[in-house]
């Protein structure tokens, strides 16, 4: 399984990332997930989220999750980009690409990756009003 984890301060460039897809005629399913900053937090209107990461540990924890993904499902590749710093409402803070031979495993792996990230990867956010 190819893997590529990035934690960046710049805007996520979906088009450039997609152009970098290592497409293969063995991979019948490709999934992209974008986590977008919403303009509300409960009852409050927000302008942005300020993301902070303990970057070295975040990379390691992502790697541990991907080790599990690799053991559980036949996945071709996973690429993930998480932004840090200020991310405006309406902008993506998370971009994930999963390629796999079949869709069931692609969906399962993509959801597992995000669910686990939200439990263990040391990234935090604060609302900016």
């Amino acid at each position: 399984m190819q893997r590529d984890i990035s934690i960046i301060a710049e805007k996520i460039d979906e088009t450039a990332l997609q152009a970098g897809r290592k497409s293969s005629a063995q991979m019948g399913a490709v999934i992209y997930f974008l986590g977008v900053v919403r303009d509300t937090e409960g009852p409050d209107q927000i302008a942005a989220l300020e993301y902070e990461a303990f970057e070295k540990m975040a990379r390691h924890q992502f790697d541990l999750i991907l080790d599990q993904v690799e053991k559980r499902w036949p996945i071709g590749s996973v690429r993930l980009v998480h932004r840090v710093g200020r991310v405006g409402a309406g902008e993506p803070s998370l971009w994930v690409e999963v390629t796999a031979p079949h869709r069931a495993e692609a969906f399962a792996a993509c959801q597992f990756l995000i669910d686990e990230m939200k439990k263990v990867v040391p990234i935090w956010k604060k609302a900016v009003f």
Binding site: M57, I123, W124
Partner: protein, 81 residues
């Protein structure tokens, strides 16, 4: 020996600093270190049930025996994505 402790996110706000040094005896556990920190930073004691603790880049529980050079990190529940 002394251990460097890093605070992230809300923990940094509660501690009022990004890191500190704490002295402990050889063979002491992470739980002992945390008790010492909570005495110095009482506001953090209030959130100890939800606090996450790592040594280096791995999560550890209170029974972990600290070694010279260990870097400890304390932070609230993660919220990536």
């Amino acid at each position: 020996m002394s251990v460097r402790v890093h605070f992230y996110s809300y923990c940094r706000d509660l501690a009022g600093c990004a890191e500190t040094i704490e002295s402990i005896s050889t063979g002491e556990s992470l739980a002992v270190l945390l008790q010492k920190l909570f005495l110095r930073f009482p506001k953090m004691a209030a959130m100890q049930r939800s606090l996450l603790v790592a040594v280096g880049v791995d999560y550890q529980t209170g029974d972990y025996i600290l070694r010279d050079g260990d870097e400890v990190a304390l932070f609230p529940p993660v919220q990536g994505g």
